[in-house]
Symmetry: C2
Subunit: 279 residues, 2 copies
Amino acid sequence: MNIAIVGVGLIGGSIALRLRETEQYNKIIGVDKSEANRKKALQLKLVDEFVTLEEAIDQCKVVILATPVDAIVQLAPYILDRVTDQVLIDMGSTKINILEQIADHPKRGRYVAAHPMAGTEYSGPEAALPDLFKDKNMVYVEAFKSDEDAFDLADTITEQLEMKSLFMNAEEHDMHTAYVSHISHLTSFALALTVLEKEKSQGRIFELAGSGFESTVRLAKSSPDMWTPIFKQNRINVLEVLEEHIKQLQKLHDKIEAEDYEGLHKLIKKSNKIKRIIK
Amino acid sequence: MNIAIVGVGLIGGSIALRLRETEQYNKIIGVDKSEANRKKALQLKLVDEFVTLEEAIDQCKVVILATPVDAIVQLAPYILDRVTDQVLIDMGSTKINILEQIADHPKRGRYVAAHPMAGTEYSGPEAALPDLFKDKNMVYVEAFKSDEDAFDLADTITEQLEMKSLFMNAEEHDMHTAYVSHISHLTSFALALTVLEKEKSQGRIFELAGSGFESTVRLAKSSPDMWTPIFKQNRINVLEVLEEHIKQLQKLHDKIEAEDYEGLHKLIKKSNKIKRIIK
């Protein structure tokens, strides 16, 4: 079986690396609009060759869409138009838009909406890691709308990536990712902007940066090409969580401003309940 | 030479563990007001014994203050009152208050203000790690006001902890730590509160939490007993950075709300400059 990966960056490249290790595929074929990415991916032997999208659809049983989410929304209907019995799987971080887009497509059954809950702050083919997905969750959205054989094929790939499976509807998925993924990126971007601004007048400000700062700010290295479309497509949920987060920061601010340290202590203690969730 | 460690938690316990490895001290003596901590620290063999603060001052050449910063401000003058030629070193995260407090003390020269830029989100004796300080920065504040022999002794300990030395004045130190340490904790506390609040109506919200969320929220496990006094003592700087951070978050919010995705892309790209600072 041949498999096509459209968008050979962090996610697509990592899928390619891991699937090659399984030795279950004749050819792993890449599609990427960036010549620099194609060159890099071939140097790193992520894929066997690059072809056009149309050629990839013709030659492969499975097409994995791992581009930024704006390109997913554009490409998915185009690919489904050309599909006979192939399976299309997207790896995007937002689902409501794409699912609306192909809801009435005659080939809807050949499509599986999936979101691997894995990533790093790096992007491009050189960021690909064979173990990126190991023991992480693959979230299927509206899986019941896919043909059984299409879903089974997608789930086989999930197993090959050594991932666990979860099922959600699109509304749940997009809201949950806003709260436990998208907001983390926004706080990191804002934190980086805050300290970079201060550096202009306090040149030595980063000398004292330690592991705590690094861990809260590292996501600010993430690609704007990947993240801008995510915030665009998940706009309503992202605005909600941003507003709530600003409110919580303002609450901490107000306790400190009012010198209500008992109240501040209580809020910090309450936040400590996160121990229950993360080890 | 005997050394006393007042406050045998994450920082004090880690100093004890590392200094024991150097085999340069006859006795490592602990002082801690919490009976539970004393018991735990003895079980973990962090220190040889616990004595009262007064006994520790009498028996040791060096006293290291590693309590929360409110206790440091109270204890430092009390200890200096009882010092002859011993050296007192504090490990607090804020410096303006403590330095004002002992500025005119007749034994000012015996005191060295130091801040190890190292830590984890855990607290208490069981959080102690022998390698916590390795290759991290020790910041000395107003080091020129310490007697030469007192500073040299403190710097020997810094070397034994395998740390690098930096020098700053108190205003610089407190502002810089607000920007690259204290704010990171506040964003984590606020993020934890945001998502924990949402969990009440969306029980499954943490199922999708991945490594990005974990890294931005892990500091929310930090002790309120340690952090409330830091925010209290660094109130002015902390309020400044909090206001700036909220402003940056609001800017991101407004771009998304206004659907100005070009402007959003520019802000994210600008924040990417943090790559220059953290690897």
